[in-house]
Structures are given as C-alpha cells and as structure tokens.
Symmetry: C2
Subunit: 172 residues, 2 copies
C-alpha cells in the first residue's frame, strides 16, 4: 500500500443477500487495469449477521485495495416485494460500507452497463462476461457475481470518458 496513491481505483459491486460480487479496477489514462475481484459469501444464517458480513467484507476490500470511488448496479426487481426488501437491505449494507470509506457511490442501470460494455442494452450475461475478460485482458473464467461487479466498474469509467468528451465538445 502506498501512502500517496493518486490513481483512481473503482470498486464495482453486485450486491445480494447471499453473495455479493466485487471488482476493483485502476484507471490509468484511457486504460482500465484489473486489481482484484471476488465474491463475499454472506451465507444463509441470521439476516443481520449476513448484512454485517457484507458491510465488513466490503470495508476490508476498500481498505486493502485502496478504492477511491464506487459503482453499483441500479436494481430493477421484477420479482416480488419480499425479494426487493432483501436485496434492498444487502444493497444498503454495501452502500454504507462505501460511504463509510469516503467513496462516492455512482449508480448505473443494468441496461447502461450492457450498453457501455457490449454496445447493446439487451446483451446477455455471457457477452458481458466476455467483454469484461477481454477489456481487462483476463484469462480463464470469472465468477458471475465478480464479473458483474467488474462490469459496473468498467461502465463507470466509460461514463466518465463520455462526460469528458461532451465537456470538450468532441461528442455530438
């Protein structure tokens, strides 16, 4: 860990009450470099303990990998209200960990993430996973929750670049 890091490190999160995926990338110029990814297993025990595991797990990830900002997928829950409530609680724990670590939290819809990575909002998960591995030059497989977390982190870097192009008048 360097004491004077100035590079941007984005923590992407795919929250869930059983498994929470995370992925950290470093932004260097127009390049995104893979730093770390994984899945926090919150298990199936008491719900409060699961939320605490998500919170403490992400707090540790933020400290270890020196994340400077975070990106979380906006949730579109088409299932029932009880699922939304569970997912909401997991998401609340994850966002608290980011805010507690001083990270700004950016939110992107699943559609925006797919659009950014694959160029098509209706792309399927396997295409997203493929583009995550290709963009970051990763070999082998990635666990799905980790790939989703890296995807939202990558979408955030593209969003930033788009903002910069718009600001400079390069986009029309």
């Amino acid at each position: 860990m360097s004491g004077q890091r100035t590079a941007r490190r984005i923590l992407g999160i795919d929250p869930g009450s059983v498994k929470t995926g995370f992925g950290v990338i470093e932004v260097s110029g127009s390049q995104a470099i893979y730093v770390a990814s994984g899945v926090i297993q919150a298990g199936t025990g008491a719900f409060a303990a699961r939320l605490h595991t998500i919170f403490t797990g992400l707090t540790a990830v933020i400290a270890e990998h020196e994340a400077t900002e975070s990106a979380v997928e906006e949730v579109f829950v088409n299932r029932n209200v009880q699922s939304a409530l569970k997912l909401g609680q997991a998401r609340g724990a994850a966002i608290c960990a980011c805010a507690g670590g001083g990270l700004a939290v950016h939110e992107y819809s699943a559609r925006a993430v797919k659009q950014a990575l694959v160029g098509r909002g209706g792309a399927d998960k396997s295409q997203v996973g493929y583009m995550v591995r290709a963009t970051l030059g990763l070999q082998g497989t990635l666990r799905e929750d980790a790939a989703d977390a890296l995807a939202v982190a990558l979408a955030h870097t593209q969003h930033d670049r788009l903002d910069a192009r718009i600001a400079s008048g390069a986009a029309r």
Copy 2:
C-alpha cells in the same frame, strides 16, 4: 457513561429512508424505563449519503446510550417494489449499525408489536402511541417515528418475559 454497565438497554428502531425513529429503554426487573428517543433525519439528498446518515446516527445512539440489544419492526410492504427497495436499504443501514455495535437484532411484525402493547394485533397507531407513553410514564407528545421505535423495544421486553414464563411452565 459507566464502564461496567450490566443493565439491559434495548434500542428499538423504526427505519425509513427519510426519517428513522429510535427509542432506548432500560429493563429493570419487570419495569421498562425510558432512556432516550428521537428521529434521525436522513433528508432528501443523495441516497448513499442518506444511508450513511442512518448508519452513523444509529452508531452514535448505540454508543451514547450504551444499548445492549436491538429490536426492529419486520416490514410488511404492501406498496410497490421500488418502495420496498428503498425501505430495505434504510433497514440494511440500520441493521449494519446494530451488528457493528455488537447488538443482537430481534425482529417483530407490526402485528406482534400491537398485540404486545395493546393486546390486539389490529390496534391503530394512536392506541400504540398512548400505550407507549402510559407504559413509560411519559408526559406530552412523542414524534410518531420515535413512538413506533419505543413500541418495538417494549414489545421485545414482553416477548422475553413470555419466553421466561413458558420456560418456567407458567404459561399454557
């Protein structure tokens, strides 16, 4: 703050993404004594900041009033999925604060809270507020979110007593 507190202090919480009510009571024998109550205003700004306000606010309440356990109303959301998601996130932040403070988190349905306080699961809010004030010997008015938080804390003490009666064979 005493260094060697052994009394039980229950933190009741009524989580919400705009306002989160809290109430702390101390259990002394069969008596419940009012310690503190209030409302954490999370405001209407960025959602992540609101969740962080709930988390840090409750963390401060737990430390200041030396809560030893917590009780939260189970949510029954009959509205839409987006409301459930928002409320779930607020609840996740609240439960993280409790778990982070080492407090066990107990959950009670709204019906169980009303049953415990008023003797009738279908009681209305004003009756619950009246019984909270009567049980704790409070004068004047209580803000609704604070009253709801104290109500779930009181319901938890009654639940404990019922458990004790069942264990001792006094209940049938």
